[in-house]
Point group: D2
Chain length 442, copies 4
Amino acid sequence: MSDLFSHELESLASPLITWRRYLHRYPEEGWTEFATVAFLAATLERWGFRLTMGEDALCSASRMGLPAPEVLTGAASRAHAHGVESRWLGIVHNGMTALWADIALGPASQQAPLLVLRFEMDALPINEARDAAHYPVCEGFASLHHGLMHACGHDGHMAIGLGLARLLSKCRESFSQPLRVRLLFQPAEESVRGAQALAAAGAVDGAQWLLGLHIGIAAQHTGELVCGVDNFLATSKIDARFTGLAAHAGSAPQKGHNALLAASAAALGLHAISRNGQGDTRVCVGTLNAGQCRNTIPAHASMELEVRASNDSVHQWLDTEAQRVLAAAADLWHCTEKHCLAGRAPAASSHPLLRSVVQACAGRVPFFKPVRPSCSFGASEDFSLLVNSVHEAGGQANYMLVGSQLAGGHHTPYFDFDEKVLLPSVALLAQTCHALSLQHTA
Amino acid sequence: MSDLFSHELESLASPLITWRRYLHRYPEEGWTEFATVAFLAATLERWGFRLTMGEDALCSASRMGLPAPEVLTGAASRAHAHGVESRWLGIVHNGMTALWADIALGPASQQAPLLVLRFEMDALPINEARDAAHYPVCEGFASLHHGLMHACGHDGHMAIGLGLARLLSKCRESFSQPLRVRLLFQPAEESVRGAQALAAAGAVDGAQWLLGLHIGIAAQHTGELVCGVDNFLATSKIDARFTGLAAHAGSAPQKGHNALLAASAAALGLHAISRNGQGDTRVCVGTLNAGQCRNTIPAHASMELEVRASNDSVHQWLDTEAQRVLAAAADLWHCTEKHCLAGRAPAASSHPLLRSVVQACAGRVPFFKPVRPSCSFGASEDFSLLVNSVHEAGGQANYMLVGSQLAGGHHTPYFDFDEKVLLPSVALLAQTCHALSLQHTA
Amino acid sequence: MSDLFSHELESLASPLITWRRYLHRYPEEGWTEFATVAFLAATLERWGFRLTMGEDALCSASRMGLPAPEVLTGAASRAHAHGVESRWLGIVHNGMTALWADIALGPASQQAPLLVLRFEMDALPINEARDAAHYPVCEGFASLHHGLMHACGHDGHMAIGLGLARLLSKCRESFSQPLRVRLLFQPAEESVRGAQALAAAGAVDGAQWLLGLHIGIAAQHTGELVCGVDNFLATSKIDARFTGLAAHAGSAPQKGHNALLAASAAALGLHAISRNGQGDTRVCVGTLNAGQCRNTIPAHASMELEVRASNDSVHQWLDTEAQRVLAAAADLWHCTEKHCLAGRAPAASSHPLLRSVVQACAGRVPFFKPVRPSCSFGASEDFSLLVNSVHEAGGQANYMLVGSQLAGGHHTPYFDFDEKVLLPSVALLAQTCHALSLQHTA
Amino acid sequence: MSDLFSHELESLASPLITWRRYLHRYPEEGWTEFATVAFLAATLERWGFRLTMGEDALCSASRMGLPAPEVLTGAASRAHAHGVESRWLGIVHNGMTALWADIALGPASQQAPLLVLRFEMDALPINEARDAAHYPVCEGFASLHHGLMHACGHDGHMAIGLGLARLLSKCRESFSQPLRVRLLFQPAEESVRGAQALAAAGAVDGAQWLLGLHIGIAAQHTGELVCGVDNFLATSKIDARFTGLAAHAGSAPQKGHNALLAASAAALGLHAISRNGQGDTRVCVGTLNAGQCRNTIPAHASMELEVRASNDSVHQWLDTEAQRVLAAAADLWHCTEKHCLAGRAPAASSHPLLRSVVQACAGRVPFFKPVRPSCSFGASEDFSLLVNSVHEAGGQANYMLVGSQLAGGHHTPYFDFDEKVLLPSVALLAQTCHALSLQHTA
């Protein structure tokens, strides 16, 4: 079996690094991955993949947490200045930055089952570390976009996706049984905003299998592999805004309606929502900004918060509680409150059968050691939404964790993973594609 | 002038102490002054006063902060056991414990002006100190009713009222001009509950003048006198009750609606109500009781609170704010909230002309030194409601503070005033009666 | 096997009801089970059990949550008035209300293994329902002690213990292998206060097996049985007291240090302690009482609270957090704070091997249907402390849940279980004794 | 008397408008008034005033609320680009932007008394309205510095100062008695940051009289004049920063120390500080900014707050309370807290004698009608610090309010005062100078 891909894999070692570093250099935030998706599309088109993009790939109305219009416009201009061709910018304009790249393997067949692999494209609003102790600085591939950084490994995920694409495009004939493979490049995974719009456009419709992966989570030693995960936490991301009335703090404080205090009371109230005997819960008011000057009763406050739960019914309860607290805290200070959903994902778990296939394939990639069957995820990922779509339609979905030593934690300025994990990850995915192609016959 | 009353005054020295100590021994709370009012009525009837009592003296529906029916019944039984005659108990049954005692002085006249003097009768739910360092214990006149105590000096006020009554009843002929005098014995002054029901029954209707006094407030040296006060704080006394839902704190906390936390949030929110540029404010949640056992989400909480303000419009604003906070804090924890008004009194100030009359009379009672014209009261008394009634009808009202060294502060178990102040207070009131009788002719 | 005990069981049907109802009629709170323990001791002594009581049965210094001295004295007087013999009262005076009752079964042997069965004796400070819809009222066995009630089924547990005692004392010869059995009657299980003092006195030292049971928890249908439980929540019961400074709320509020607000801030802060990714947590401030009158800044507040966690390290973290919050909330309002531990129990789970023995025996008691192997407990019981003692010494411990329809929930005035469960429970315990006696030989 | 200055006044009508509009166009924030002070200095030097600037005019170490170094540098660069001569920038570099301009009037004398007049120079961080309804837009003199605006009338104050300077410089001989006049141009009045550094440098040492004024406060009709004010509120401006520990909100929230919740608890606690029976208080947390992203326990929070009081002892108490609350709220959430004083001013009142002089002079300026002797200020101004300095040294200080209709309130984007008030204000000050020069002889 290792004979199948070993030659091609070898030749990927250097390109994987190149792709990863190129992508790392030009990070783009969720819904603004204009240059990123154009680079992927142009490359995959060249390798013979059939592309689905723009309105066909993404349900516009189902997108959550879109940035302000001026952010979208600014990012598009930057991509244009970067040299992105207008034909791509036309397709993905206004945040329609999804890409499906399809290929058929093995003998032609109407009956070929569909395997979807998901890779995220978005970066984070984090200023990358600039000192020489940081490897990307050392090696000259640190972010060139001030205030943005691939600090979650999505650059690595995309490089793996490209590596797998290159391999499959060269090894189509190595498949004795027919298999359709779709590489799904997702915008706006951060804050669980993008998957819903992909699902609504049919990105995983008809998929027999769905695979996703993440570098460096839970497994923090290079070589480690967790074949599947349980306990994706359901989550809602909420943006709330409190509006009161300004007044002079010295002469007429009683005329004010204090939005800062409403938001403060809400923050404390949200964190004090009851524990739930039916499942785990989490609440985090992550940001709070209120008031404009020292001597005026603050008329405005805004907060970004999230809730999480280990199952969907507790999630539903928690959402209701949070909304009640927001409204009542506003009342407490004679303010009004509005909020909107900036992201949402359900609870989910890997399918045990598909996880077993991955586990078997991992045995054929000697790099991976130790191989752990599964773990509890304890975090949220909107991959869970795709998982549930596939499971509800009778398919199987699985999410694996590729271990890596990290220079700094996820979402921090010193984040950096070990590039040694890229090639074995491509190998594992290729093996899994092959194994699944055979499984279908059986 | 001093010739007028000096002989009679001398003979009052001993009875004043006796009356005060008798009343101190048998304290009764607001609306349960059954034995007290019966003792006063029987005495004043004997001295020739015309009495108004029961429904005639008090508007039943205007009473605030009535105790529970079983408290009323219990106190009536205690009074009966104490030997109070049924004829009195029948009149004042069910908390109708007011008494007006009228007398006409000087030559008979249809035109005689009316002077009303108000004295309070109620005691406090305080356990009197039991050690020998406490003078009432020493002298054997400490409270015989466990948990109740005359800790605000109302026993002294009533003794002064009786002394004045005795004096006037003996000196009717000393008045060259006609004057009607009404001694108004008020129930339930504590928590400003009783005056409204007196006013509604007409207790101060037609009064040319109204006088009240208090021992030991602001003036804390025996001999000191403050002739009038400004700045009675307007106040509301509110009883609030939060109702939630109980649940097992271990297995199903999410099923609970936490009334203890609603009350806690309300307490903090009430104290954080904005200051007001138009006047002083005060907020005090004085008691909070919530929950019944440690391992159940508390379904009930109750609190007693008060707000105060230096003028009526700020008072109105503060009432509204407080009610909003109570309701919103309940919402914050998914509870319901109900509250009722347990007392209410307006802002007021002494009339400067009547205050000057008192000041002039004080000059004739050598005991009083120093004599201060006025001070800011900074507290609440439902006398203010009577003051405003009289002022609105064109009369004059005044409240004076009789200085006294105190063994312990008002409303504490060691409270005790100096009995030396009783006789001079009677003298001052008698002088003022006489001065006012003459004023009218002019 | 069923032949072994069937005759004797039959004769227990009526006494079980009698014992249960007698005990229900005379409830006693934790550490005051004077009449209860005397009744049990006298009975068991008559049946030939060897008793251990007083200082021998209980480590005085390890008792938690002792009531005030006057409560102990009052309860002892009540027991004396009830006719309890002085010889018993002398032994168990001052809250030393534990009882071990030992019996040796089968052939005499120095090597006989020890089985301990634990039964709780304490009642709750709950007023039992008084209407005829309540079965104990109907049948005339409602509580005769106002304000106290067996509202958790401990009366039933004790009846089962007596039934088992009677049976074993009659069937000693039916045991072919030697077995020592200890019936452990525990005071003060409510609020997890008593087990520590039993363990410290050696009550489970040398026990090969430990068994406990509860009626009506989790399993709420008569006939249901849960053979073992996981996830006893670790817990601390804390009594906190805040001390500030009183001041007049109108004239000098700034002189006060507000203990009511300190307690309110603490309550909110405690419930807002972070969730923990390492295990479940619970927080409940069950009672809060603050202030004495409406118009004084409250100088005192007290609260009873509990924390729980699904493992001991999270429990330790939570204890530390709670203590920090209590202290800081006091500081926030310029108050001081003191607290004491009123109860504490660790996390624990049933031993799977002993649970299997129970499950096998349940098959021989046709009454039990369905029989569930185990469930998550989700609550706290200081039986967990005994469990861990036994497990640490190499023994096995198990806790079973005897299903019962309930007229009202545990710890409520309408609580009542189905008396039909008593006899089968005795049968199950007897079977388990026998099975364990045989197991040892093997 | 009006003959004295009337000719010169006439010729000032047009320049006053020009100066005001020029200054309005180029607003600069506190401690960065580089171009402003250079313009004033160059002009006053030309008119023969003796200048004191830089280290001589300002005690560097006594400055409060200095902006960050990059703000100072940026503003200096902007001033340089604006054409400000290096000789001025050298003197006022690094925020040393004060100016004293002295002139001697009348016959030369060593004994000439000193009159100081204070004018503020700083603008506010407010975006000026840009629509044509706004008069400065209409007339083309709106702010050219984005985000900065003279929204408190300091441009008008400076124009009045220049007008008075021009007048006095031309009318030196009209003074029959000697008088020294110092025009004191103060940086950083907003947030009461600058006066302390002026006083520490001796700006009002030896002053017999001190005058200040404000346009449009309390008196909001053009023509109105309030001759003096009572009740400058004492105030502290505090910047607080909370530091906790970041943690992943999903997988390990318990590792975080939540600075956002610490700040929220502090905000609520600060507003709930007790009222004070000894004087008015105000508390305002004007801004709160916490956290950086939604799914991380926030490790940082900052707030800008102010407290005010109607007298210095209550102010001292309030400062202490606020600091306790800040520290305890940090403890409550396991955070640390640091704060610094960004501004501070005492309570003060105008001197009644100097106020009377102004009132008399106002009678000679027919524009002013009605003329009110005084009012309660109810706000804070660091002029109060200068007032107290002068009063303590035996001099007299006064602050007057020049009425003006306003297009929008102070500190709002539509603020605009009526330019008609400029000339009469110069006239009033000139009359007052003259009256004081005569007074000294007497």
